[in-house]
Amino acid sequence: MAKESNFKNMTLTLFTVTLLASASLGFVYSFTKGPIEDAQNAKINNAISLVLPEFDNQPSAESFTRNVDGGVLTFYPAKKDGEPIGMAVQTFTKNGFSGQIDLMVGFLPDGTIHAIEVISHKETPGLGDKMESGKSDFNVQFKGENPKDFKLSVKKDGGDVDAITASTISSRAYCDAVQRAYSAIVKEGGSK
């Protein structure tokens, strides 16, 4: 600290500091890259197996994507003994109370919803986060319903979905995401 600042030592110091910082960050990045990817994949694979009936292929290896409404939908086809038994769709909505919500929706070949899991959300703890499975019965009501004759919007808007108390916006967003997945499935010609 006692030294005097001049152009040469200021430049040299900043150069050294930033060089060392970027080198150490590069090292940490190379070291954590694997675990971060593993954690992401584990989350996705776990969600897939939760929303579909039992399958024996690798849905994440056969996945494909479509660009819809300014975002990306990822499809994970599931098969058992070579026969398609359903399709998991990673869908999204940007209408959440606090931004984007990502869901994994499992469809049976006839378009019936098998189950839904929340992948990530930023909704209010204690209110909107009741959309997570296990925190309330909100997501149970979708099980076994075919959106063909189950209107995916909250009852307040004339649909068939019971909204989470005090979380109509989160419930609407949830329906929006599921509807987006269903429309995409129909467009792809069913979950074959």
């Binding site: 600290m1 006692a2 030294k3 005097e4 600042s5 001049n6 030592n9 200021m10 110091t13 900043l14 500091v17 930033t18 910082a21 150490s24 960050l25 940490v28 990045y29 954590t32 890259k33 694997g34 675990p35 971060i36 954690a39 992401q40 989350k43 990530s120 930023k122 209010t124 703890p125 204690g126 209110l127 005090a166």
Partner: protein, 194 residues
């Protein structure tokens, strides 16, 4: 100042949250539950300790006019390391804390301790200062998170104490953070006056 008072000052006398009122953004934003508060507090502790030690080490070779940019680069590096490590090894907690981890960079406490303490003291004293301040911060965040979680959703560290239908939702939401923080600060002031 003995090393012991140097360490304990962060808890009560100069507690960063309740006395200095520094770092309010993560304090209010992440304390919706005790676990979140603890995770945030420990991440900040790590950054504080590491940044304090490194800055105390290099304080004599950094020219005074570029010390702030140098400190910020050092702090930002440690924050990014914490961010990457948490994403890799504690994905659930990382998803909860989200944006607030990178925001440790702009936490006034970290730069404040670097400028006020580490740049004038030895490595050992800076280490203890960082540890004391960090743990004081973690303690404050955990306490605030615990109060909010208990009043808001009837839980403590995720364990249900009473049914959450009786919880006061306002404590989970942003206004409750201010209310709880105000009362806790008042209680801490009363206790430290004695």
């Amino acid at each position: 100042m003995s090393q012991l008072t140097n360490f304990t000052k962060g808890f009560i006398k100069e507690n960063p949250v309740f006395v200095l009122l520094l770092g309010m953004c993560p304090t209010l934003g992440t304390t919706t539950s005790a676990i979140n508060g603890l995770g945030m507090g420990l991440a900040t502790t790590f950054v504080l300790v590491m940044a304090n030690v490194v800055i105390a080490l290099v304080k004599n070779v950094i020219p005074p006019k570029v010390r702030i940019p140098s400190y910020i680069v050092i702090i930002a590096s440690f924050v990014t390391m914490v961010d990457l490590s948490m994403a890799g090894f504690l994905p659930a907690l990382h998803a909860q804390l989200g944006l607030f981890i990178p925001l440790i960079v702009v936490n006034c406490i970290v730069l404040g301790r670097a400028e006020a303490f580490a740049s004038k003291n030895s490595v050992g004293a800076s280490f203890i200062d960082g540890l004391g301040m960090g743990l004081g911060f973690a303690f404050a965040l955990t306490l605030l998170g615990l109060v909010r979680e208990l009043l808001g959703s009837g839980k403590a560290f995720g364990i249900s104490i009473y049914s959450d239908t009786y919880g006061m939702l306002v404590f989970i939401l942003a206004p409750g953070a201010f209310i709880a923080l105000g009362y806790l600060t008042a209680i801490m002031n009363r206790l430290s006056k004695k």
